[in-house]
Structure formats: structure tokens, C-alpha cells
Symmetry: D2
Subunit: 455 residues, 4 copies
């Protein structure tokens, strides 16, 4: 089944940049992955009329290469972590250090402190030498041993520092702001003609990176989030007309809220940024909640922090340039209390915000294996001289994705996807809580099997 290599039907160019031809024999005794090994992006196929239509767009498979570009004893690596905490960061750091040291024989890996600030001399943050000894137990702790910070720093100053420190490979673990910074650093490096590999490991607890089925730390976050939901359920049961409300992460994508509701089936309403709701009116949330309490005497509401932004006023931007969200949970608390007070219906509402507890726990086994592979594959890619790319997992396989593709747009929960439909199915929440919305027609559900491209 021949096809054009460079672009699939989706117009996606999977080409990974390299610093030069890798000529050194890999010191690894293992089997190798060829650069020609690809992984399909859309794995579903519409099979009508005795034939299937397949989109051949793919990404390069990650893994160790037979020939490497950098000579390990002369290679110096640096790792920086940036943005908010997420389970598994220390696992990725550990895996990079262990792989570079034990498998390739790289002698020096430096840890840049407190995010991109650590590159800027005026902050005065010292670097940290990362050895197998210093990182051996860090995976047992949440957070990042390097510290983090928010906001951009000058790519020029960053590359100055990389040159001064003689860095060959820079690993950046961070969110979309960090990946955009990585792209700028990469461009600056190219402009200067330097041989420095820039490898990103995308981090987002919200799971909103395009092409990536499930970002690292997401599974741990969902697992921990269910604890808060269980508490909210227990509190709701503890009073007549008890309502437990849990606010979860999800600035623009409701994946954690949706997944956690699927994992602990005591949730009755899930509010996510992608699905607008009305509060008032016959089909609005308040009426639906009232009916639920009338029937069952308790209810659990899970609200993503970015839900209902049309109902609250936004409040400027933070250091990273992300908009500061309006506080939907406080609005809901106020409106629910008002609604039931006006109707003289007794109500006990308990509100839980477990965000910092969730994002700061150590990774669970699933994420730990995941982060181990991310770190190993990041080192494999870097040593082979690849650059301007990220390492990630797609459909349970590790792939190389060009940096520019992951910085364009964000993944969103599709209300027509299997996943959201299953949330509705398992919560029993109405298909829509909009008064003016026509009922969904009987159209085909969107296959959930695509590694979702940016919306």
C-alpha cells in the first residue's frame, strides 16, 4: 500500500530535524528502532462497501538508534522543568539521568533550577549536578526537585547560557508555554549554527496536548481526584439534601473532570469548559439539581475550573500569559444557595478544592512506567542528534512529534466523542443543560480512537 511519506491525508508533516548524520555506533547492546518506523495517527477506518479508508498520516516511532550523533563522554546534558506541578516530573528527570549515565556513558547532566529563570544570570539560581545517586529516590516524591517558575525568559539569554555552559542537549519538561519557549530556543540555536539538541517532554495535567492520547501524570491525577469525589459523596450523604461539589483542574479542557466522573460513579453532574450550560430555566443546572435532590436527597457535582467561563468575568492574565479564570465554583455555590433559599428547601453544600493535593502527589505505577519510557526515549532521540521535537506516547506507542505541531492549538474534549457520551451515560446527567438548545439529532458519534489533533 504505497503512499507519500511526507504528508498523510491530514497534511501532517512528521519530519524530525537532526543536527547531522549520526555516525557513532551506539553503546547500547539492545535492538534498535529504525527511523523509518512510523505509527499511524488516526487508527480508525471507515469500512463501507467492502473497503476501508485509512488516513496514512503518521509519526516517527521513538526508541534507541543504531547510530548516534553525540559522543557520550563529551556530551553534557541539561534538564529544566517549568510551569505547574504534575505527577511524574521527577520520574522523567530520573529516567533521563539514569539512561544518559548508565546506558550511554554521559558523564554530566545538569539540573537548571526554578524553570527558565535558572538560565538567566540575574536571578542568581545555581545549577544542580544530577547524578545517579542524587536522583535514585526522587521518584518517591511528588513535584520537581529542580523547582519551577512561570513566564517566558529571553531565548537569547537562554542560548547564551547554554553556550557558556557547553550544553549539548537541553531537555525541557513543561506545558505549552514551555514548548513554545523550546521552539524559540531551538530557532535561536539554529540561527547561531550551534549543535545543541532541544527535546521537549510535554507536561500538562489537563491532558490537552494535541496528538497525545493521555499526558503523563493524568492517570495519577484522576486517581487522586476520585478521593475528593468520594469525600464529596460521603459529605452529600451525610445530610438531608446534601450537595458535595468538587472543583478539579481543567482550564480549557475537561478531561480530568470527565475521567474522574467515569472512575467514581457517584457523580451526578460534570461541568466542563467544552459544554456550555445555563443555570436558570427549566433545563438549567439549578432545576436539574433540584429534581435530583427531590428524588435522591443528595447530589455530587464535579466542576472543571474552566467551566462556565461565559457566566463569570475573567480576571486578566498570569505570569505565563494564561488568562486568570473567573471562579465558576464560587458562582455556583452562591447561586445554588440562593436558589434553594428562595424556595425554602433545606440544603447543605460542601465544597472541596483538591487541586494542589492532586498535582503534587508522586506518580502511580502506570505513570511511572510511562515517565520512564519518556525519559529513556528522550535520551535516545537526543543522542541520535534529533532536535526541535517532543517525545510522547500515542496509542500506547512512543513517538517523535515536531515541536511546531504540539504548540499549535490544544486538544479539547469533544462533546460528540464516545468519552463524553459515556460520561453522560454513567452520570445520568441530561444531554444538555441549555434551555435554547435543540436536542441532538440522531447523528453518528465521533470515533474516539483518533489521537486528537488540535481543535
Amino acid at each position: 500500500m504505497p503512499k507519500q511519506k511526507s504528508k498523510g491525508g491530514s497534511g501532517i508533516d512528521p519530519t524530525i530535524e537532526t543536527l547531522g548524520t549520526p555516525k557513532i555506533k551506539s553503546p547500547l547492546p539492545f535492538l534498535f528502532i529504525r527511523d523509518t518506523s512510523g505509527v499511524l495517527i488516526d487508527i480508525t477506518a471507515d469500512c463501507t462497501n467492502q473497503a476501508c479508508s485509512i488516513d496514512p498520516a503518521f509519526f516517527q516511532e521513538a526508541g534507541p538508534r543504531e547510530r548516534i550523533y553525540f559522543d557520550p563522554p563529551k556530551t553534557k546534558c541539561a534538564i529544566v522543568t517549568s510551569g505547574g506541578l504534575c505527577p511524574g516530573i521527577n520520574d522523567v528527570i530520573r529516567a533521563i539521568v539514569m539512561e544518559a549515565h548508565h546506558r550511554y556513558g554521559v558523564h554530566t547532566t545538569l539540573g537548571i533550577r526554578y524553570g527558565l529563570e535558572g538560565f538567566i544570570p540575574s536571578y542568581g539560581h545555581e545549577v544542580m549536578e544530577l547524578t545517579p545517586e542524587t536522583v535514585s529516590a526522587i521518584h518517591e516524591f511528588g513535584g520537581t526537585i529542580l523547582g519551577s517558575s512561570r513566564g517566558p525568559q529571553s531565548p537569547v539569554e537562554i542560548v547564551d547560557t547554554l553556550e557558556r555552559m557547553n550544553i549539548s542537549v537541553l531537555f525541557l519538561i513543561g506545558g505549552d508555554g514551555t514548548m513554545r519557549a523550546a521552539l524559540k530556543i531551538h530557532d535561536e540555536i539554529k540561527q547561531r549554527g550551534l549543535k545543541i539538541s532541544v527535546i521537549g517532554i510535554p507536561k500538562t495535567i489537563d491532558n490537552d496536548i494535541p496528538f497525545i492520547t493521555r499526558s503523563f501524570g493524568f492517570d495519577t491525577a484522576v486517581d487522586k481526584a476520585t478521593e475528593a469525589i468520594r469525600s464529596a459523596h460521603t459529605e452529600a450523604l451525610g445530610a438531608c439534601n446534601g450537595v458535595g461539589m468538587v472543583k478539579l483542574m481543567g482550564r480549557e479542557a475537561g478531561f480530568i473532570a470527565a475521567q474522574a466522573a467515569m472512575a467514581l460513579k457517584d457523580v451526578n453532574f460534570v461541568l466542563v469548559p467544552e459544554v456550555k450550560i445555563d443555570l436558570e430555566g427549566p433545563l438549567g443546572l439549578l432545576a436539574a439539581l433540584e429534581q435530583r435532590l427531590l428524588r435522591r436527597k443528595h447530589a455530587v457535582i464535579v466542576v472543571a475550573e474552566g467551566a462556565g467561563q461565559d457566566l463569570v468575568a475573567s480576571e486578566g492574565t498570569d505570569a505565563s500569559g494564561n488568562p486568570i479564570l473567573g471562579d465558576i465554583s464560587q458562582l455556583l455555590i452562591r447561586e445554588i444557595k440562593r436558589h434553594f433559599k428562595e424556595r425554602s428547601i433545606p440544603l447543605t453544600l460542601k465544597f472541596i478544592d483538591p487541586s494542589y493535593i492532586i498535582r503534587s502527589v508522586p506518580a502511580n505505577s502506570n505513570d511511572r512506567v510511562y515517565c520512564g519510557f519518556l525519559g529513556m526515549n528522550a535520551v535516545h532521540a537526543a543522542m541520535a542528534g534529533k532536535t526541535g521535537m517532543v517525545v510522547s506516547k500515542m496509542h500506547e506507542v512512543y513517538v517523535h512529534i515536531p515541536l511546531n505541531l504540539v504548540t499549535e492549538g490544544k486538544k479539547r474534549l469533544d462533546p460528540r466523542s464516545n468519552h463524553w457520551q459515556a460520561v453522560l451515560e454513567s452520570t445520568g446527567q441530561p444531554m444538555s443543560m441549555r434551555n435554547d438548545e435543540k436536542q441532538h439529532g440522531r447523528i453518528e458519534r465521533k470515533a474516539s480512537s483518533t489521537a486528537d489533533p488540535p481543535a
Copy 2:
């Protein structure tokens, strides 16, 4: 990109049997999946010479259908669980009952007690009515509320009981023995011309079902197994020349051992059924262990129960007809103690067998979501009149697989796969512990991205 629908390059026939044309409008308000929606089995592509070669073999995507076959109020379902415990069984039971009752309006779902025995009148086991109330909290408990048993029962007697009880749909949750029984029951039903749907939900803590990336409960099992490994590591560190040995499940496939070793990187040796080892000799395990202790004073060994069966004598078969494995862990303990005693090297060896603790815990969030989808999709398939199939997850998508395909052979850990190579990479264990084995040549590593067919 047109192709033959019926068979891919692998010669796999994804056709799902049906009891008849589904004519009833589904009561679900949700979006639907078409029968023509397929999911590729092999999602990797070899992209040489500007073109990719793709294997178009696929399975049908699972999900709710617009037209159903059974009229819900007249439909009676039955669920049976068989074989050993595995995290998540109760979650599947709960999801089936909830979906059938709340979404489709099925009034009766019966629980068959103690596995296939429950169908056989002479055992005298009573059936259990499963309602939303009786199952609402069962996911908080491990095991199966229905009880289980091992070994085959007469398909004729089973179908007699199904007829007598007026069952329309039979859900079987069990291992490969149970899936073979399901196939026989399905054949008996067809022969009698009955309209009873037989839907399997394959259960194996060993993760050795063909085509299924990760079987339900596997993730929970790995997570729990890491606790035992952590203990073994702590014990090993607690003595000079301390050795911690953990025996894990894995009769013929070493997936749990391999994955757990990836999840908790304190493991130094992983022994699995798929990779033969020598004990004695310069490259054997005992010499490798001795060198490790000399260097680091402690070591952790993880051994799958089915490893090294060439070194021990097997001991007949159990009630399910599975061979009773020789006890490799006892052999190892004996041989290690002897080896070090002969050399007058002090040694402290602690052995942990956490199998029953691992398999009896409740499912974690990840498996809970998974089991929820399995249950929901099993009901969708059954109500649509499909039969002789299993519901499972492949590459993160839920699919229908014909029963006969999952009963042919078992999935094995491929020593040439990324996964095993990564185990070697992270443990530092020798590529081979065979004295006579030639070193692996520099051949291509096998892509891990295929939903492995039976070996």
C-alpha cells in the same frame, strides 16, 4: 485507499455474528457507532522509499447502536464469573447491571453463583438477582460478588439452564478456559436455533490475551505488585548481601513481572517464562547475582511463577486443565543459598509471594474506567443482537473481537520487543543469562505497537 473489507493482510476475519437484524429504535439519547467503524490492529507502518506499508486488518469498534435487537422489557440477562480473581470483576458486573437497567430498561439481570457450576442443578447453587441497589457499592470491593469456580461444565446442561431460565443474553467474565466454554455454549445455542446472545469479557491478570493491549485489572495488579517489590528492596537493603525475591503471577507470560520492574526501578533481575536462563555457569543467574552483591551488597529478583519451567518438574494439571507449574521460586531459593554457602559468602534472602494480595484488591481508577466501558459496551453489543464475541480494548479503543480469535493461542512477551528491551535497559540485567547463547546480533527491534496476535 480502498481495500478488501473482510480480511486484512494478516488474514484476520473481524466479522461479528448476529442473532438477526436489529430493528428496534435504541432508547438511548446518545450518539451512535456504526457497524462499519473499524479499528486497525497493526498501527505501525514501515515507511521506506517515500511510502508506507499498512496492514489494513481491523476489528469492529464497540459502542451503542442506533437499532437494537432485543426488546428491553422482555430481555433477561445473566452474568457469570469464572476462574481466578482479578481486580475489576465487580466493576464489570456493576456496569452491566447499571447499563442494562438505567439506559436500556432491562428489568432483570441474574447473577450465576460460583462460576459455571452455577448453571448445573446438581450443585444446588441459587441464583442472585442483580439490581442497581445490590450492585451500587460492589466496585469498592475486590473479588467477585458472584463467587467463582474452576473447570469445565457440560455446555448442554448450561444451555438447558439458559433455556429454562429464559435468558436472552449471557455475559461471561473469565479467562481463556471460560472463553473456550463460551464458544461451546455459543455453538450449542446455534445448534438449537436459540436467540441467546453470548458475550465474553476476557479476564486474565497475566495480560496474555491475544489482540488486547492491556487486560482489565492488569494495571491495578502491577501497581499492587510494586508494593511487594518495594518491601523486597527494603529487606534487601536491611542486611549485608541482602536479597529480596518476589514471585509474581505469570504462568506463561511475564507481563506483570516486566511491567512491575519498569514501575519500581529497584529490580535487578526479572525472570519470565519467555526468556530461558541458566543458573550455573559464567553467564548464569548465580554468577550474575554474585557479582551484583559483590558490587552493591543487595539485590532484588522478580520471578514470574511460570519462569524457568525447563529447570523444574511440572506437577500435573488443575481443575481447569491448566498444568500445575513447578515451583521455580523454591528452586531458586535453594540454589542461591547453596551457591553462596559453598563460597562462604554471607547471604540473607527474603522471599515474598504477594499473589493473593495482588489479585484480590479493588480496581484502581484506570481499571475502573476501563471496566465501566467494558460493561457498557458489552451491553450495547448484546442489545444489538451481536453474539459469539468478546468486548475488549485495543490501542485505547473498544472493539468487538470474534470469540474464536481470542481462544486461539496466547499473547507472549516478545524478548525482541521494545518492552522487554526496556526492562533490560532499566534493570541493568544481562541481555542473556544463557551460557551457550550467541550474543544477539544487531537486528531490528520489533515494534511494540502491534496489538499482538497469538503466538
Copy 3:
């Protein structure tokens, strides 16, 4: 060593009221406790000049009695739970039901729904029959299966209901408001000359009940609280000048905050109601925090909800008549941010309020054993015809305490006690954060071994 039985040196009267002489032979096959068995309240002794001075005040030891007052088959029990959630309530309920049913042969135990409201016909709450089957698994869940409510109800109406329902024994699980209600119900019963035993099981997650070393659920709460502190520490380490602040329960007593800080030694400042602090000034919290950040770049603050009430305005009272506390944590956040902004010192502050997560978890093993004994001993006391008392644990022994003693005042954390001194010792926090306070002189530390009487 003869002494007055009725009163010790502390003037405490341990006499327990009874409904009459117990004449029925206990159906229990076990050994029995005599009414004359006492447990000393103050177990420390000042041993100067070759002699010790011992305070002989004691409480009656709890346990099964050889003769009982109520005839089990004719006895009807009722259980009510009131006030906020606390780990272990379901364990106490379960133990009462199991003990009454299996050991004594009581046929009926009723659960009153939603606290004292459940006795008042106008609320329309139905009672719940509590059998061994309905309660067998409830200890695996947090909260209370009976539901709860706040606020007083008419003792006259309550006793009307007790009479109408033919209740012989009323078990009340609740806080100090509930114990005061129990006393009023007990008085009303006496006035009517009824033979109804009133037994309290004091519940307070704040651990502020006089005479009770550690109230049930406290240990679980502390254990869960350490999770939030660990998260705060991880967040604090994740930024340069990171501050993690955790708000814990403790309206008037700082026991949870103090104990949790002892359990997870990453805490640098513990603020409790019993110890006043200044924010400003050279010895105030803000200056101390600034010095800590200068030195170590991160800090963890634990603040009991009732700390610093002199710094914030109170806000009326709640349904139970408890004052609504001013929000000290919001004040601290505001003032800390202002302080560091004024000095242009970068600061990242993360705030965690885990209260509802903490109080709604199931009891841990320690509390589970404790609650089991409370329930068993409550039934023993009731069946023996005792009334107007609570069952509790003092110095690891179970005792009977007259209701009137536990409703007088509350236990407080003594800043001169070993416990608080050890908190200072382990956190490194200054002895005092008051500018005008003279340094503590070298006076004797107060022995912590007294079962603290009300302050």
C-alpha cells in the same frame, strides 16, 4: 492505701446512674468487669522526698457486666448521629448493632435519620432498621449511613418519640452540642420516670473532649492531614520562596494541627487557637517567615481554623450555636502577600484546605479497633442499665464518664505541655511570636500524662 471512693483530690464524682438493679444473668460467655474496677485519671505522680503524691480520682472501667438490667429479646435500641462527620462513626454504629444482636440477642436496633431532626415528626424522616446484614460493610465507608444534622431539637418531642417507638436504649454519637442534648433528654426521661438508658459516644475530630486522651477518628484525621501537608511541602519546594499553607480543623483546640506537624516534620510554623501570635513586628510571624525563606527558600505553615481569632472578626453563630469563625487563613494569605510585595521579595503561596477530605475518610485500623470497643462497651453499659453517661477511652482503657462531666468545658492544648513543647522542638518555630511577651522563664514543663480535665 485506703481512700474516699466517691471523690478524688480533684473533686471529680465518677458515680454512674443506673435505671435499677441488674438482675438478669448476662448471656455472654465471657469474663466480666466489676463495677468497682476504676481507672485513675491523673497517672503521674510527683515523687519527692522518697514519697509520691497520687490523686486517687478515677472513672469506672467499662466492660461486660455479669448481671444485666434489660431483657434482650424485649429490648429495642436506637442510634442517632449528630454534628459534623468524623472518621469511625459507621464503625461505632456497626459495633453497637453487632454486639446487641449477636452477643445479647437484641432483636431490634433502629437508626434515626439525619441527627436529632429524625426524632421530630414534622421533618418526616423515616427510621431505618439496622440489622447485621445492613451494617456488615459500612465500616468500609466514611461518614454516617444515618445522615446527620446540626442544631438542637426539643427534648420533650424527642422523648415523646422514644416513648412512642418503645425504645429502651438510646445511643447518641455526636459532639458537645449532642452531649448537652443527651443530658437534656436524660433529664426529661428521669422526670417522666421512664426506663430508657441514654448512652453517649462523644465524637469530636478536634479532640477537645475533657478527660479523653484521644477521641475516635482523631488518629485517622491526623494521618489524612499529613497528606495535605506533604502536598504543601511539595508545592513549597516547587518554587523559589515557595510557601505551602494548610488549614486544618481545630475551632478552639489545635490538637490536629499540632499532631500532624509532629507526624510530618516538614512543617515550619503551626498556628493554634491556644497560642496567640503577632503578624507584624520583629518577633511576629511575617518577620519569622521572611527569615525562614531567606535561609531555606521554602516554608510550610499549618494553621488551625480557630487560630488567631483575635486578629479577625467573628461572624455570628451556626445552626448548632457554635460561633462562625473569622477566616484566619484568608487573612494570612492577604498579609503574607502584602508583606512580601512591599519588600519586592518574590513569593509563591499555595493554600490547601483539606477539611472535608479529612473528616469523610473511613477510619484507619487504630480507630477501627477503638470504635469497635466503644460500640461494644456502650452496649455493655446500656444492657447493665447504666444511663446518663458516655463511654470513652482514657489512657488506653475504656471507662464510663458521667454525661455532666464531659459537657462542662473543653479540653485545650496546653502551651506548657510536653506536646506543644515537642511541636516547637520539631518545627523549629520560635517559642513565641508575640512582640510584647516576656520569654518563658525556666519553669517546669507540665506533665502531659494527665487525662486533661476541662479548661
Copy 4:
């Protein structure tokens, strides 16, 4: 209430030896405990005829003293850990190092590796410098960072090493063998006229140290043991006539088995060393189990490793001189299978031995606070020049106990105590499973409130 200081009615001499008069002003800013502060050993009182009889025997209360003996900057401490693992050892080590360094200003604390072996030059184990940095996170890990070993070593050689290393204080964390070694070391030191303080911190997961209500790590062990019991229960429910058997620690005392059975009430039979049973006969275990299965179809058995030693042959002694116990669990498995096979009753028996998992976990919050106090108080005692003693907790207060008292005999579970009676009460197990034993008469239950002296 005057009395003889030196000895109570029990003839217990609480006198603590000292190296000399403490003359140095303590650097601690805290309040102090006087040497005259005592804690009563027996806190129960028999109050007949208007008077109570109190046993005035006491131990000295632990805590910081106003005057210390050692000059901190000149003081060198050493810590050794010996015997089997137990949760909390690292917490004790950490607390000693932190207290000595931060509170007293001791510059050097050495860690002796691999138990008493570490003192003997011929083993070649190097010592480890223990600083606040090296110990800051060790409490997050189980086991002991120092390693351990079993068996005695020459007190002469040990004291030679202490002299050569210039040690002022030796802290020994270990079991009764280690406490006996401590006594011998203490005697050797005295004989040489050295000024070296010997302070023991008794460790026993079996909770069998005389006078100590609950040894450190016990609570964590019980909590972890309940997990195994829950698994056994799940396995038992998973088959018709399913039996789950759990073997727990308890060589000569059944405290863990008894407490765990109280904590997870699914246990039906608890076998402990202190209570003999018959297997055969109408009142034996096999008949009782058969009846249980007939009635309920599943059963859970918890067996302490030292139970039923009259039924199995012992097998010599281990390196520490402890007898190697006969394997009661294997005997039970064999006999139970035989019994049911002979009667053609189907049976599924699952056996779990979680010992190494239990003893190697990190301490829970309760034990963590406990171990923190043990470490702090050990340092307080040592710095004050006390020696030949152990620090421990009795009735929730920390006390000093002369070494010779804790090395005499072991604490046993008293079958007539409240605790064992409550085990019978909650399991429903027969009062006796001995065929020839007369039923217990109606005698008084023994108060559980005494800090049990050695049996």
C-alpha cells in the same frame, strides 16, 4: 498520700543510673521535666468498701532536663539498629540525629552499619556519618538505612570500638536480644569506668516488651496486616467453601493477630501462641471450621506464626538464638485439606504470608509521632547523663525504664484480658477449642489497663 519512692507494691525499682551529676545548662529554650516526675505502672484501682487500693509503682517520666551532663560540641553519638525490620526505625534514627544536631548542637552522630557486626573490625563494615541532610527524608522509607544483622557480638570488642571511636552516647534500636547486648555493653563500660551512656529504644513488631503498652511500629503493622486479611476474605468469598488463611507475626505473643482481627472484623478464627487448641475432636478447630463453612460457605483464619507449637516440631535456633518455630500454617493447610477431603466436602483454601510486606513498610502517622518522641526523649536522657535504660511509652506517656527490667521475660497476651475476650466477642470464635478443657467459670475478667509486666 506518702509512700516509699524506691519500690512500689510490685517490687519494681525504677531507679535510673547516671554517669554523674548533670551540671551544664541545657541549650533548649523549652520547659523541662524534673527527675521526680513519675508515671504509675498500674493505673487501675479496685474500689471496694468506699476505698481504692492503688499500686504506687512508677517509672520516671522522660523529657528534657534543665541540666545536662555532656557538653554538646564535644559529644559524639552512635546509633546501631539490630534484629528484624519494623516500621519506624528510620523515624527513630532521624529524630535522634535531628534532636542532637538542631536542639543540642551535637556535631557528630555516627551510624553503625549492619547491627552489632558494625562494631567488629573483622567484618570490615564502614561507619556512616549521619547529618540532618542524610536523614531528612529517610522516614519516607521502611527498613533501616543502617542495615541490620542478627546474633550476639563480643561486648569487649564493641566497647573497644566505642573507646577507639571516642563515642559518648550509644543508642541501640533492637529487640530483646539487642537489649540484652546493651546490658552487657553497659556492664563492660561500667567495669572500665568509661563515661559512655547506653540508651536502648526497644523494637519488637510482636509488641511483647514488658511494661510497654504498644511498641513502635505495631500500629503500622496491624494496619498493613488488615490488608492481607481483607484479601483473604475476598478470596474466601470468591469460592464456595472458600477459606482464606493469613499467617501473621507473633513468635510468642499473639498481639498482632488479635489486634488485626479486631481491626477487620471479617476474621472467624484467630490462633495465637498463648491459647492452645486441638485440631481434632468435637471442640477442635476442624470441627468448628466445618460448622462455619456449612453455615456461611466461607471462613477467614488468622494464625500467629508461633501458635500451636505443641502441634509441630521445633527446628533448632537461629543466629540470634531464637528457636526456629515449627510451621503451624503448613500443618493447618495439610490437616484442613485432609479433613475436608475425607468428608468429600469441596474446599478452596488460599494462604497468604504477608510478613515481609508488613514489617518493611514506612511508619504511619501514629507511629511516626511515637518514634519522633522516642528519638527526642532518648537524646534528652543521654544528654542528661542517664544510662543503662530504655526510653519507651507507657499509657501514652514517655518514661525511662532500667534496662534490666525490659530484658526479664516477655509480655504475653492474657487470655483472660479484656483484649482477648473482645477478640472472641468480635470473631464469634468459641471460648475454647480444647476438647478436655472445662468451660471457663464465671470469674472476673482481668483489667487490661495495667502496663503488663513480664509473664
